[in-house]
Symmetry: C2
Subunit: 345 residues, 2 copies
Amino acid sequence: MNKDITIYDIAKNLGVSPTTVSRALNDHPAVNPKTKKRIFDAADQMGYQSNVFASNLRSKRTNNIGIIVPRLNSSFQSSVLAGMEKVANEAGYNLIISQSLESYEKEKANARSMFNSRVDGLLVSLAGDTDKTKHFQPFMDKGTPILFFDRVASQSGHTGVVIDNSQAGYNATQHLIQQGCKNIIHVLGNLKINVYGERLKGYKYALMDHDIPFTQENILHSDLNEEAGEDIAHKILSMDPLPDGLFVSNDACAASCIRSLKQAGIKIPEDIAVVGFNNDMISRLIEPNLTTTHYPGYEMGEVAMKNLINHLTDNTEGVLHNTNTITLRSELIIRASSLKKKLEP
Amino acid sequence: MNKDITIYDIAKNLGVSPTTVSRALNDHPAVNPKTKKRIFDAADQMGYQSNVFASNLRSKRTNNIGIIVPRLNSSFQSSVLAGMEKVANEAGYNLIISQSLESYEKEKANARSMFNSRVDGLLVSLAGDTDKTKHFQPFMDKGTPILFFDRVASQSGHTGVVIDNSQAGYNATQHLIQQGCKNIIHVLGNLKINVYGERLKGYKYALMDHDIPFTQENILHSDLNEEAGEDIAHKILSMDPLPDGLFVSNDACAASCIRSLKQAGIKIPEDIAVVGFNNDMISRLIEPNLTTTHYPGYEMGEVAMKNLINHLTDNTEGVLHNTNTITLRSELIIRASSLKKKLEP
């Protein structure tokens, strides 16, 4: 392995003093622009690395932002990450990314590793079985800002970027009721995760507002993936009477469920009207096209990262500390899978 | 912001000497296990950060691995990243991730930022308009290992993890020919990207082997996303005669194309047999189900990361330097979208 290139090597190479090289690389006004350019070009060519570590030790900043997501291979999370990366990159920050694989223990280990890497800030979407946030206490004690997104901590004192999941659940359910559905199944994920709890609340409120009794049997818990969609379809097919509406908390699972129901001879939406969640590409490509809630992942990533970086840059510590929730717009997109009645012209 | 917790604070708190604390935290055998545990617990509780920077300065290792992908919000790339993260995390490495957004200039800036962050190694899938690898020279000069995956550099001297794209293109095309297709359209992405060039080669070889003349008009260039699929469908519908086979280099684009063709009254596969690429979830959910090439993204991520970490751990510099290409298995998965003839029992 080669030795690191130092300012002394550059100085020797160009026949200027080390002081001039150091000043030029720090953009000091006393060095004339032509010399600066020569020195920059030489530094580039020779493979000089600015001594980020030493400068980090002085500034106590690493320009690294940590991100912990439940899963990297999720259509929603990868949109969020793309939005975060764009904002961070433009502001000169690197992203250190890890996944908890829905495990509290792994999330704890990831948080510890991020803490030891001295990230300047942390963005977290919680694992499925995380029900406490003690593992983030060291960041808080140290004044390192944390922002939660999508799956946020229910404890007060944290800032979260979310959509109004309760309202979204309400809108989806009310739409099915307006299409004439009276026996609506709701498929959701782990109730420890705020988003599913909130959507369930919205489902219940909508039933209540339309005088439809709530029954626990109509709530199906699921991993919300492709395989789970098949299981859900089998459960539904064994129900007597068959439900007439289905609100699934994720498009992939809804699409897979529709496929299995159709294979069993069920007509969508005539027999069962179906609504998904997320507005993934698959919602526009399956048949019939899937009614769903547009969930702005990319924008959520942008907003979360911008808020964190503003906090770091302006040092306006009060802003994040006093902000409890940032809520983004979401929207029910009505398509053929739920339209029992024709839309009025 | 609170002051950093030092070993002196821990020592004072527990009434032991700073030397004992330092030894305990470094797992020195001279400290008894009970005391070690007490010190570890106190370090945890008090929010002690091991001084990674200082230890990095000594070891010249950061335990950070840099990854540059064209886009984070891609189904394939997010599977790759999930595989990489799993392996890296288990081996105690952090991932620093950035996206080039298909731009050479942005890839260059990302590489420079990774270099200044002193990553221990780099994994790269090249941007669409990258046609040189000079921006990675500083890593090579410094002995920092680089591995390319999926979209690899054509210059020799680099190691790449790939599938046999030429063979995969051959198999897809030959399958269409065996189904009776004689006029096959191939839709591909930017030809600067090795994977598309290789698949085109396979397409041409298959035609040649079956005495079907190649015509440039049957090659359609595309962004290979959902919108592009609609454009491709319109182009195909304006062709006279209509083609009878379609080999698209990506499932999302193929699925969107099938939707538009069906809306125009074309029967799939009777009128046009369609083959995609990647084996994304969408290939199993659209109708008819899409014939495609299984492209093992997660496994590619695992293999690339394992090779890089083995190189870092064993210091067997020769292994990577002498390996040109690591080729993973891929496989044509035949489904209804291409079956003009019934499969023989």
